[in-house]
């Protein structure tokens, strides 16, 4: 482990909803306020603030983190925003980590917020600008294209069937039925429901995709001497990693996320993990699409390439399986307010490792968990390993 020890000591979140009455700022406050309250700290105890929020284009507010800052508890404090698209939620935790690990700050408030519903008629309009303006945008690409292209490359490389992949959506939406903040929890959903849902961009169907969502999540991170004072159940950050692949995405092998592997190797090294399949007990990989959970589990080296679907079918990734994956319900079930969704995963690991996940609690008192997010033009992996 590099630097000083850093713990997560508190977490709070809004409900994840399709369209919130609250403004972005109000959502940020709801989550930040609850996170501080959860560990009985006040803004006076906070030395610095990390704000995570994804495209400014969702809100059409330039430099959105400055707009959000009041709701994030940032008044009169050092503030930083890091932005790596969908990878932002976990990246914000990495920033919080180095603020404290470096010795610069004792206590940091990390707030991630996304309000996608403002963008009309559909937030896909904001996503269009991700494509190269000269060589790709004149073709009027649809964001679903790149996921469908990647999913098809993955399926074809390993000879996978849609049914193998739909199981992920079923698992996560069922898990989410036990999450009090979830938008799309459904205890009764079946594989047939997923396979019969509307085809959007084959192989992607409606229930393969996470929904447009509004929401916010916040964490309190602090140095060991503060953590020991604040709680008897600190959750330690054991390793962090992140990596970015080339933006020339049509030149890459889309069947394997090598950048996730690079991020995982960095985090495992820092955490002293040599056998991730034995040493990690619970995982929250990024699952905006069902195939992405499988793709990421393989990138994290928790399953062999092309083998995550088989493990899913065998029940290994169920909440009571050998390696619970997305016990929260993930983006597919809880919802996908981009940056906040990544931080929700870190909050889930925090609650699970403290034994506070209620109906979602995985059996066996897990000691070490991993959260991972992914984003930009299918090119960034962000990883955090946490333990008790």
């Amino acid at each position: 482990m590099s630097g000083n020890r850093v713990a997560v000591v508190g977490a709070g979140m809004t409900k994840f909803v399709r369209r919130a009455q609250e403004t972005a700022k109000e959502l940020a406050w709801e989550a930040a306020h609850l996170a501080l309250e959860s560990c009985e700290l006040t803004l006076d105890d906070v030395d610095g603030v990390v704000i995570g929020t994804a495209p400014d284009a969702f809100d059409s507010v330039h430099m959105k983190s400055e707009y959000l800052s009041d709701g994030c508890g940032a008044w009169g404090k050092p503030v930083m925003r890091g932005y790596v698209g969908g990878g932002t939620g976990v990246f914000s935790v990495l920033q919080g980590w180095y603020h404290v690990a470096s010795g610069l700050f004792d206590t940091v408030l990390v707030v991630c917020e996304e309000k996608m519903s403002s963008c009309q008629p559909h937030p896909q309009g904001a996503f269009l600008t991700i494509f190269d303006h000269t060589t790709e945008r004149p073709l009027w690409p649809n964001l679903l294209w790149i996921f469908a292209l990647e999913m098809n490359a993955y399926m074809s490389r390993y000879g996978l069937d849609k049914r193998d992949i739909a199981l992920v959506s079923v698992k996560n939406k069922r898990n989410a039925a036990d999450h009090p903040a979830a938008l799309l929890g459904d205890p009764n959903i079946t594989v047939e429901d997923v396979l019969n849902s509307e085809v959007l961009a084959w192989p992607v169907q409606r229930l393969d995709v996470s929904p447009v969502t509004d929401g916010a999540v916040a964490l309190v991170m602090c140095a060991e001497h503060v953590a020991r004072r604040v709680t008897d159940k600190p959750v330690w950050i054991e390793g962090v990693g992140w990596s970015l692949d080339t933006a020339y995405w049509t030149n890459r092998d889309l069947s394997y996320p090598v950048y996730v592997e690079e991020a995982a190797r960095m985090a495992y090294k820092m955490a002293g993990i040599t056998e991730p399949r034995k040493q990690i007990h619970i995982v929250e990989p990024y699952d905006p699409f069902d195939y992405k959970e499988l793709h990421h589990l393989e990138g994290l080296m928790l399953f062999d390439k092309g083998k995550a679907p088989e493990a899913t079918a065998a029940g290994v990734t169920q909440r009571d399986g050998d390696l619970p994956v997305c016990p929260s319900g993930g983006l597919l079930g809880v919802g996908n307010p981009i940056a906040a969704a990544g931080l929700m995963k870190v909050a889930e690991i925090f609650w699970q490792l403290r034994g506070e996940a209620g109906a979602r609690q995985v059996p066996g008192q897990p000691k070490r968990g991993l959260a991972q997010a992914w984003g930009d033009l299918m090119q960034v992996g962000t990883v955090v390993v946490m333990g008790v």
């Binding site: 979140m13 306020h33 004149p138 073709l139 080339t246 889309l254």
Partner: protein, 167 residues
């Protein structure tokens, strides 16, 4: 953890229809003119002439498309223009039944990544497939560019109307 979840207010369509909530709208009118740049400028000129071109790196020897003036891996200047064929292989594809704003399409658009002949293995570009039934599209299928007539070409990626199966 229920106590750590805020009771956020969930709006429904009828809240708007019945005027129970207020909102403000805005229609941005930002306009841009992007310079194509050195590498893509030449790429567009070649497209106008009905040709595809790549650029090669003196260190790793990759022949790259889209062309670039530097190699992002070796981080050195690329040094040679390489004429490529207008044929290639479908690496992956989708059958897309919705537009970007989620309007349903009768006939799907078929976006694909196509590895271009003459470039290094796996060097693809994104484009559309045409003159093919959706169910006939396969990964590994050989395709060829269908160019717009010379007088309609303007120096844009759309100078290729689409790629069609190669007999």
């Amino acid at each position: 953890m229920r106590e750590h979840v805020y009771d956020t207010v969930y709006l429904r369509s009828k809240d708007f229809e019945e005027g129970r909530v207020l909102f403000e709208t805005w229609d941005p009118n930002a306009r841009y003119a992007w310079d194509a740049g050195v590498a893509i400028g030449r790429y567009l000129q070649e497209l106008k002439a009905g040709r595809l071109i790549g650029r090669s790196c003196p260190e790793c020897r990759r022949v790259m498309i889209p062309p670039r003036m530097f190699c992002e891996q070796c981080f050195c200047a690329t040094d040679r223009w390489v004429p490529l064929q207008d044929t290639g292989t479908v690496i992956t594809y989708s059958l897309c039944y919705v537009t970007w704003d989620m309007i349903r399409l009768e006939k799907p658009q078929i976006p694909a990544v196509i590895a271009i002949d003459g470039a290094s293995p796996g060097m693809g570009i994104m484009h559309l497939l045409g003159e093919v039934e959706p169910e006939a599209v396969k990964i590994g299928m050989r395709v060829q560019a269908v160019w717009k007539p010379a007088e309609e070409r303007i120096g844009a990626i759309t100078d290729i109307a689409y790629f069609k199966p190669l007999e």
